[in-house]
């Protein structure tokens, strides 16, 4: 019997190696796997590359990993969101590298990896500083910039409900990067509010099919 549920946060993030690329879903403070990020902090891996839309908030989760010196690189679109002092301090101290990528390009680069593609040409960033050093090509008279696929060693995800196979549904705008990152990592781990019986999720409404999910941690709904 397939059962992807794990018993503890430690088990959920077991095996993450130093230098790993960690896809962290979420937008602002919504749809972030807070418990899995805390578990990753406990787990101890270091020299991590984080892929996330923002760059951590306050002193928990991703910000705590940064404050503990465990993050060497952040790939994000917009670090200046909320209380990003953890990132700002590390950025100013030059202990952390920033790769700034437009929001839609981050998600599409992961989508490309998930789809088995070697990248894509996009008009976004053409003629701008962010295209410097990148291959370009004119397509139908419009300058396009080549973007490489982006793959994670692990994805830390958050969903509303899972079944024991790992089929997932989300909660409103907390969906954001979760379904994309779920498809783009070697190991996809999700924390969910609730585990439901196999067959009880409407097959027309499942957003992430179980094939993309490896481990499920039930944390319950947050107050």
């Amino acid at each position: 019997m397939i059962d992807k549920s794990v018993a503890s946060p430690a088990e959920a993030v077991a095996g993450v190696k130093d230098g790993a690329v960690v896809l962290v879903a979420g937008f602002g403070t919504v749809g972030i796997a807070d418990d899995l990020l805390e578990a990753l902090h406990e787990q101890g891996s270091t020299n991590l590359t984080i892929v996330h839309n923002n760059a951590g908030n306050g002193d928990t989760g991703l910000a705590r990993l940064i404050n503990s010196g465990r993050v060497s690189k952040v790939i994000c679109s917009y670090p200046r969101s909320g209380d990003y002092s953890a990132f700002l301090n590390a950025y100013r101290a030059k202990t952390l590298e920033l790769e700034l990528v437009p929001q839609g390009i981050i998600s599409e680069r992961m989508h490309a990896h998930a789809a088995g593609l070697g990248g894509f040409f996009s008009p976004v960033t053409a003629h701008t500083k962010l295209a410097e050093g990148k291959e370009t090509r004119e397509i139908d008279g419009v300058l396009h910039v080549f973007e490489k696929p982006l793959k994670g060693d692990i994805a830390l995800l958050r969903a509303k409900k899972a079944d024991r196979w790992g089929n997932l549904i989300y909660d409103q705008s907390a969906r954001n990067f979760n379904p994309i990152m779920a498809m783009a990592a070697d190991l996809s781990v999700v924390q969910v509010n609730e585990m439901v019986e196999l067959g009880s999720l409407d097959p027309e409404a499942v957003v992430t099919p179980s094939i993309f999910i490896d481990r499920v941690l039930v944390v319950g709904a947050k107050a």
């Binding site: 937008f27 602002g28 403070t29 919504v30 749809g31 839309n53 760059a55 679109s77 917009y78 670090p79 200046r80 969101s81 909320g82 990132f87 700002l88 950025y91 100013r92 920033l98 700034l100 990528v101 437009p102 929001q103 839609g104 390009i105 998600s107 599409e108 992961m110 989508h111 996009s122 008009p123 976004v124 960033t125 053409a126 003629h127 701008t128 500083k129 962010l130 989300y170 909660d171 409103q172 705008s173 907390a174 969906r175 954001n176 990067f177 979760n178 379904p179 994309i180 957003v207």
Partner: protein
């Protein structure tokens, strides 16, 4: 000749931009002033707002006490979903943005050039990390890019320029500019003033604008309703 005129306040600017959003249009509103435009769509007109974080059918701000922690807009403020609204993941949200599926993208800006070049993502302040968010995706994708911004900077210097001085977001993308003084169209024949605030002359507006302005044949007074700033 000096005449007196009164610039629009921010809500009046948002009101003006909203009047051009047509029935049935799918529209992305940038963070900040563009977001306010949603409140001023004329009654009875159905306009569908898109949010980069995966919402099509963005509604008004929730009433106090009814906020949902999992329902936020691109500015990370609590929002609502209108009847018929749906959620999608980020790659699809940006597919809609990049793939010319949206009719209008209404953006804020630091500078716009006479060729419609847009600078709205960085002021190159060395003490802070840069952030681009969805700005570059939005600037290339929608069928029509419109900008809403103050006509001049805080020092009174033009923000509509012959060439942008700040790093570009995208080349030649802006089609219409709403400022606190005028509505200006960017065309291949140059900048055309469609509307100016009452009491303003073209000479006065030109003095606050770097490239040459031309008055459109059918230009009008820009006369918004009174609104608290």
């Amino acid at each position: 000749m000096t005449t007196t005129y009164k610039p629009l306040n921010r809500d009046q600017m948002a009101w003006r931009a909203a009047q051009d959003l047509q029935e049935g249009a799918y529209v992305n509103l940038g963070i900040g002033m563009p977001t306010r435009a949603a409140s001023y769509v004329p009654d009875g007109r159905e306009v569908i707002f898109h949010s980069e974080n995966g919402i099509l059918g963005l509604g008004p701000k929730p009433e106090l006490g009814t906020e949902d922690e999992n329902l936020i807009d691109a500015g990370k403020n609590y929002t609502t979903l209108i009847k018929g609204g749906v959620f999608m993941h980020h790659a699809d949200a940006f597919l809609m943005i990049r793939g010319k599926h949206l009719d209008v993208s209404l953006l804020g800006a630091f500078e716009v050039s006479e060729a419609g070049d847009l600078a709205n993502w960085t002021t190159e302040d060395p003490s802070f990390p840069p952030g681009v968010g969805g700005a570059m995706d939005l600037a290339v994708g929608a069928k029509e890019i419109r900008v809403i911004m103050d006509h001049t900077d805080k020092a009174g210097k033009p923000r509509i320029l012959k060439k942008c001085r700040l790093p570009l977001t995208a080349l030649g993308c802006v089609k219409r500019i709403y400022t606190n003084l005028a509505v200006i169209d960017v065309t291949e024949q140059g900048l055309f003033v469609r509307e100016m605030v009452e009491g303003m002359t073209l000479e006065q507006l030109q003095a606050l604008t770097e490239p040459k302005l031309q008055l459109a044949n059918n230009w009008q007074s820009l006369t918004p309703p009174a609104m608290a700033a």
